[in-house]
């Protein structure tokens, strides 16, 4: 980890829902162009933490935070939120294409950010669909509704939509949990290709998936006050072969609780 460039980081980051502390003083450095997986039991705050990186929690009434979240060293709280979300894209558990054509789904973000030229848009749409490894499957049907695709295709369309605005970071919250094993493998292979250009942070319940796709793994767990804590963070191969904390070992070996 010493030789890695940090893309995103948090320092003493805590998050509260009203008076309830959901995340407890988390320090982490997410390395650039790597896949970092967040694992932990339900309710440990890993999705909440992931959503902190592009300020998705701002939308929830009563949420307050302390500490800092940084992108490229800059405090995200001080960034324009639209610009931040252009740099930090998100893919959700259930594929959620807009009820628009495949083309318009991918062109949506770039148009929002001011790209109007039709041929430039066409180039960008093709590039994004190719990067998301779905171009060959949809290139003859770009005007077809995004909703008409299979679940796995829809999720890759959502990834294409996320990368069309050329983000630096892609956050993925259980991106394959609603997909069958073949579609899951496609997404995992795609993630491996995407990390050449993007930094990826993924929340997953599937430990084998974390082992297969990620370079680094962060294990989170709630404390006695039900606040999410970062227990251990390290290279995935280290976490899965020689975890340092016995709680990590108990969780990954299925003996937790």
């Amino acid at each position: 980890m010493e030789n890695e460039t940090t893309r995103m980081s948090t320092e003493g980051y805590s998050l509260f829902y009203g008076r309830f502390k959901a995340l407890n003083s988390i320090d982490i450095k997410i390395p650039s162009n790597r896949i970092t997986a967040f694992i932990g039991p339900s309710g440990c705050g890993k999705s909440t933490f992931l959503r902190s990186f592009n300020r998705m929690n701002d939308l929830i009434p009563g949420v307050t935070t302390t500490g800092t979240v940084r992108l490229d060293g800059r405090d995200v709280a001080k960034e324009d939120v639209v610009k931040l979300r252009k740099k930090v894209g998100m893919v959700f558990q259930r594929p959620n294409p807009f009820p628009k054509s495949i083309f318009d789904n991918v062109a949506y973000g770039p148009r929002l950010h001011g790209l109007r030229n039709r041929s430039d848009l066409a180039v960008l749409v093709e590039k994004s669909l190719r990067q998301a490894a779905i171009w060959e499957e949809v290139k003859d049907d770009l005007q077809k509704s995004g909703m008409s695709l299979s679940g796995g295709q829809q999720q890759r369309l959502c990834i294409a939509r996320a990368i069309a605005v050329e983000p630096e970071v892609i956050l993925m919250d259980e991106p394959a949990s609603a997909l069958d094993p073949v579609a899951t493998l496609k997404i995992e292979e795609l993630m491996n290709e995407l990390k050449m250009n993007y930094t990826i942070a993924i929340v997953t319940h599937n430990m084998q998936q974390a082992g297969r796709v990620s370079d680094y793994t962060a294990f989170m767990l709630t404390d006695q006050n039900r606040a999410g804590n970062l227990i251990e963070f390290g290279a995935t191969k280290q976490i899965f072969t020689t975890p340092v904390d016995s709680r990590t070992e108990d969780y990954i070996s299925g003996r937790f609780g």
Binding site: T241, I252, S253, R255
Partner: protein, 217 residues
Amino acid sequence: MSRDSFDRELHEVKRNLFQVTGEVRKNLSASVRYLENRDMQGAAMIIESDEIINLRCIEIEEQCLNIIATQQPVATDLRLLFSILQISTEIERIGDYAKGIARISQKIGPGKLIKPLLSISRMEEIANEMLDDAIRAFTEDDEKAAREIPARDLQIDVLYNQVHRELLTFILEKPSNIEQTMMLDWVAHNIERVGDRVVNICERVIFTVTGVSVDLN
């Protein structure tokens, strides 16, 4: 949450490894005793029983592969299974060394030996004790013992050199002794190799406990 069936399977594969180790230890000590006593029937029994040992080791391998395929072990469980796979190979090879000694016994035949097997017997005792202690260290996750046991391999090496030199003098004294001398030298070599295999087992114990691969040879 506990993983009862997984833990049961792990326990069973460990138990099988200890059982087969016990059989190999028995064969190793019997192989030298039968050689000393010129017991041809005993030697034949060892050769026969080694087939069962080989089958047991294959069963252990299959059990490990099944557990890996169906239970996706990680961390300590994964290191343990990986070590069991490697240790069972070491045990199987130690069994082969005992069988090799029994074969040599048969080749020498029921006639008198050119010398008593004092140093060779001592080598076997040390190797057998080392094996017992190494397997115990494995059961008890005893890293300290695993680091101490290999020092005893030096005693085996010293005895082996002694036996080797002694056997050379037998050839010089009476060149017609050469065939049996070479065979007894091979017996000593087999036991010397057992010591090395036990050191490998100690390395696996340290790996299981710490996750670090070491070279103690």
